[in-house]
Amino acid sequence: MKRWRRHLSTLLMLGLMLPVLLFIYAPIAWLVLSSISTRAELLAVPPHWIPEHPTLKNYRDILIPGTAVSEVARTFSVTLRNSFIVAGSTTLICLVTGSLAGYALARLRLPFRNALFMGILGVRMVPEISLVVPLYIIAARLALLNKPIVLIITYLSFALPFAIWMLSTFFESVPRELEDAALIDGSSRLGTLFRVVLPVAAPGIVSTALFTFLLAWDEFFFALIFTSTIAAKTVPVAIAEFTGRYAVDITAMMTGGVLAALPPVLLALVFQRYIVSGLSAGAIKG
């Protein structure tokens, strides 16, 4: 009787899981299928759900410049490169300056330490729209518009407070005894941080790097306002342009979508463990 009930509840849970999985995967499937369909099959009524003539032509059009396609499609691979440069640099700067600051906040006895901590937490919440007008004015004055550097700097506004917060959470969990031993042996603070704390907190560093990269990769608003040429335009802006300026170039948009989603999705899946632990550390103090 009891076993029968357990089977029933397992069945019920599987029944609940099915619609959740369907809701997750149906749009993903449609994104990928759209990217390997010909326009004719996609625009059929109703659409061919499974393409009869699957093709990689859309990918070729977008990745190999020179073919007769729209300007956004032709320059898409450049925007991919821009996104990598911007997100990579942002992540690097955040890790270096964030490690120093996060360590100081986690370990050193400082006046105003609590106030600083709260300030950083608060800054993390400030929306981009609150900063965009002055940043635009300053960037225009300094002739920084349409350069990757303007995005790298402005992305620090949300990425750096986040990185500091996360790193300091991880540093706090490093056993103090390890550091004390190094310090007593005459190692400087900086040396201790690099030789003792960072290696022990390596999983936390990976986690922080992942989240920072994903945040920067995902960013759209600053990129939309500060860049309009392919010198610095990032992938999200290119994808938005498929829908905007041109009559919807649907296959290119979906193909671009797959390409834009691949780096973050693959990173997140490969480093899944770090994502799950990072979500709890970054959001909930562990």
Partner: protein
């Protein structure tokens, strides 16, 4: 060095040394954060009292509080506020319920739970703009998958435009947001569930409490801090929603999905009125600071020094 000859009381010098090091360690980050957030916020505040145009972006004539007054008297502003609140309450509410449900489902460890947890990561990691573009394509009036699906199932007789009616467009944008954000809440809550002490739950079970009672009286109260944190983060995010609206509806139909962030964007960069755009963004900042305060109080409990 003085240190070698006259040795000052050790604790004091160590503390001073630590402070000096701390300042050096913090300096790069604090300078950056001040330069790119606090200074711009103050700048925004100043700009909001001027009529600076986009075409000549240096602070112009002082116009007092008139930028604020114009908005407080305009129907467009209040409609945008209302829409933003509707978007925030409905999307975050739905996301919380679904996310909690999914987290509990994962926690019950049915066969395939690990696959479900991994699957959640995908929509979470898909960039917001791709998410928007995808749903825009699904909702397409002439060729969209929503039309195709309903038509194939025989639920509609001909294709329909889905985004031509303001309220429906807003709700469909909410669906896209839910797809993207439920995983975030579900993943946070399932991680929190995994850390809960099981003794209470087991004790209650022994005492004859049923599953519902154990959930309502034991797990839910223990989950409260995690739920609150997820709630505050999502509320702040939803309140500033811009990206998916930009891609799916461009604020349309007939300004029907213009939220407060979108209105600020239009004001500043489409109509080129940086001054009144600054006034709007300052109002958003105030709201966010209020929420941030709640967030800080939830998250940060000062520890005893030492």
């Amino acid at each position: 060095m003085a240190q070698a000859t006259v040795r000052p009381p050790k604790t004091v010098s160590l503390l001073q040394f630590e402070i000096r090091e701390g300042v050096l360690f913090l300096l790069p980050a604090v300078v950056l954060i001040f330069g790119i957030t606090l200074f711009p916020i103050l700048f925004t505040f100043v700009l909001s009292f001027t009529d600076t145009p986009l075409s000549n972006p240096s602070p112009q004539n002082f116009v007092g509080v008139s930028n604020y007054l114009v908005f407080l008297r305009s129907a467009q502003f209040w409609q945008a506020i209302w829409r933003t609140l509707y978007f925030t309450v409905v999307s975050v509410g739905a996301e919380l319920l679904l996310g909690l449900g999914i987290a509990l489902l994962i926690h019950a460890r049915p066969p395939g739970w690990a696959f479900l947890r991994t699957s959640l990561i995908i929509p979470w990691a898909v960039p917001t703009i791709v998410n928007g573009a995808l749903w825009r394509w699904i909702y397409n009036a002439d060729y969209g998958a929503l039309n195709g699906l309903l038509y194939s199932l025989g639920l509609i007789e001909r294709y329909r435009p889905w985004l031509t009616e303001p309220m429906r467009a807003l709700n469909l944008v909410i669906v896209a947001d839910i797809w993207h954000s439920v995983p975030f809440i579900a993943l946070i809550l399932q991680a929190a569930l995994a850390t809960l002490p099981l003794e209470l739950d087991e004790a209650a079970a022994v005492d004859g409490a049923n599953a519902w009672q154990r959930f309502w009286f034991i797990r839910l109260p223990l989950l409260r801090p995690a739920i609150l944190v997820a709630l505050v983060i999502r509320t702040v995010e939803a309140f500033r929603v811009f990206d998916i609206i930009y891609v799916i509806t461009q604020g349309g139909p007939a300004f029907g999905t213009v939220t407060i962030s979108y209105l600020t964007y239009l004001e500043s960069f489409s109509y080129g009125r940086l001054g009144s755009g600054a006034a709007l963004s300052f109002l958003i900042t105030l709201f966010t600071l209020f929420m941030a305060l709640a967030y800080v109080r939830l998250l940060y409990r000062p520890e005893v020094q030492g």
